[in-house]
């Protein structure tokens, strides 16, 4: 499969200003060397705890924030360093759906105008009736009644608003949609509707999705591949099946074991992490996870593990030597 988007060693450091003259006193290493790629029509999920830099990756790809270093390549063309005036045309190809359906739609614009905005910006519609037709087609695509386009966002429920947000992302005919926690704020039943809508749209239109989420249960339902992030870095990157059956990294296993199972008697092999995520201002030396890893040994404290291949399309950044999926000796005892 050809690569639609490639992200190479992306970094975003937020400077912290302080002191008398407002100099930079420290950096928040929000994203610190993240690489992955997405093929056309593929879903890649980016999962991890709050504050691990998932959303920052999404915004840096969109250039809503400027990346500190690294490359973002769209169809063989770098988009991280081109001037914003040139980027404007390419924005058509990458769109975004945000988490909060209430703040992601301008409260003072009607649905029609919200959806018409990208159409007009990219010159995809000529004249009022053309816009109306295309907006109506978008409403059909996200399964909202057409007459709803004359309404204001506050007249819709959360799920309906999220559909409008998806329609806006579809409007310019994007190749890649970044779903930044797009279903996290919704009720479970509505969540399922939106996830199904997204995967239907992906089938219909051949969309690629970058699905940023903390919810592994949802991720399992719709993704092709998963990248697990911890403290600004990817610790494991593999396809869905491998992740859920043969994950390698202790952090991934801890995340998986935290997914609720709807059976109170199910035997569970819990990996419970203690402590909090260390501060991204001063990340731990060596492996960033060593402060919370139950299996950390000396090497982890000094040497940063690189992503290495442990199987077909399965990469992990961990010093532990064991076959993927095999119970780690210490974990079995725990």
């Amino acid at each position: 499969m050809s690569k639609l988007l490639e992200v190479n060693d992306l970094k975003k450091h937020f400077p912290i200003h302080g002191g008398l003259f407002g100099g930079v006193t420290a950096n928040v290493y929000a994203v610190d060397g993240v690489s992955f790629d997405i093929a056309k029509g593929e879903t890649l999920s980016l999962v991890g705890e709050s504050g691990c830099g998932k959303s920052t990756v999404g915004k840096a790809i969109l250039r809503l924030i400027e990346p500190t270093a690294g490359q973002v390549v769209l169809d063989g063309e770098r988009i991280d360093n081109i001037p914003l005036s040139q980027l404007r045309k390419l924005r058509r190809r990458i769109q975004v759906v945000f988490q909060d359906p209430f703040s992601s739609l301008n409260p003072r614009m009607r649905v029609r105008d919200i959806l018409a905005e990208p159409l007009i910006n990219f010159g995809l519609a000529k004249g009022g009736s053309d816009i109306d037709d295309k907006v109506a087609a978008l409403m059909d695509k996200v399964r909202l009644p057409r007459d709803a386009m004359r309404r204001f966002p506050h007249e819709f429920s959360g799920g309906q608003r999220q559909r409008i947000g998806i329609a806006r992302a579809l409007a310019p005919g994007a190749d890649l949609i970044i779903c930044d926690e797009a279903v996290s704020a919704l009720d479970v039943s509505v969540k399922a509707q939106i996830v199904n809508l997204l995967s239907d749209l992906q089938d219909e239109l051949g969309l690629a999705l970058l699905f940023i989420s903390h919810d592994l249960a949802i991720v399992e339902h719709l993704t092709h591949r998963v990248a697990v992030m911890y403290l600004g870095r990817i610790v494991e990157l593999t396809d869905r099946r491998t992740l859920f059956s043969k994950s390698h990294h202790p952090y991934t296993r801890a995340l998986l074991s935290a997914v609720p199972v709807p059976d109170p008697d199910a035997p569970r092999n819990r990996v419970i992490l203690t402590g909090d995520v260390p501060s991204p201002i001063n990340p731990p030396s060596g492996c960033r996870f060593h402060t919370r890893c139950p299996f950390a040994f000396d090497r982890c404290r000094t040497e940063e593990p690189q992503l290495r291949s442990v199987g077909t399309g399965h990469q992990t950044a961990c010093h532990l030597e064991h076959a993927p999926g095999e119970p780690i000796a210490a974990m079995a005892m725990a």
Binding site: K40, G41, L62, L64, R88, K89, R91, R92, I94, Q95, V96, F98, Q99, D100, S103, S104, N106, P107, R108, M109, E117, P118, L119, N121, F122, L124, A125, D133, K134, A136, A137, L138, D140, K141, R143, L144, P145, A148, R151, E155, F156, G159, Q160, R163, G165, R168, A171, P172, G173, A174, D175, Q193, N196, L197, S199, D200, E204, L205, G206, L207
Partner: protein, 310 residues
Amino acid sequence: MNTSSLNMADAAVLPTHYAAAPVLADVLPPVRERGRFGTFFRRYPTVVVGGVLIGIMLFIAIFAPYLGTVDPTALAPAKRTRPPSALYWFGTDMLGRDIYSRVMYGSRVSLIVGFSVAAIASAIGAFIGLVSGFVRALDTVIMRVMDGLMSIPPILLAIALMALTRGSVGNVIVAISIAQIAPVSRLVRGVVLSLREQPYVEAAVASGTRTPAIIWKHILPNTLAPLMVQATFICASAMITESILSFIGAGTPPTIPSWGNIMAEGRALWQVKPYIVFFPAAFLSVTVLAVNLLGDGLRDALDPRLAKRL
């Protein structure tokens, strides 16, 4: 796969056999009925009361010559300091001028000053606030200048500015406006900074909207509600400031009757002829109260979430 050429015209004839996702209930709330006065009054009584009172004041100001008034500057020394009676409704002052006529005509000055200052200070303040919120390089400089302006009490600043020029209604408006620009620009800047981070603005940027359109379509309409509320309070305080300036003789020239200088002239006789001061003071109080009621109500009426934000 070539999705980039996704044909929007084809989209209208997409197959209708949508799988998997349950059909969305087509239940939308009915479009809210507007224009029911009774409902509106019950919900926002302060807007109605304030609006009606301001309407009455506007009526007085516009139709002052037809409200049984005489020339408010006509002197009649023989009939000075008459108490209120059937002939002189509010009495006469120490120069025999009819206070009723003077108060009616005086409303013109207060309303013109109040509305003009609100309009000028809001427009300029909003512009400065938008620039400051959007151009990071200018933000620090502009805001330090505004801090400087705000460190001077507005009345003192207006007096100082009036001292530089001659007394006229136009100069009073300019002087009071300058003092009111700083708080407006601060307010607008704050709103702009928070709006810029809103996902819908980021989504608009990602949709290729240019910065001027972002400001015009996404930022400005959402600053209008807090701006209008602020404008009403500026209007009220401008009326009071105008009266204070006239009262201390630094504002409207004595040839033009204004509530402030009627009170100033009556001040010496306050203990023996209190009605000279009473009527203009009562009108000023009622007008300021009306404007404040309107502003308070507008805050709730324009956006229920605004009450938390301001």
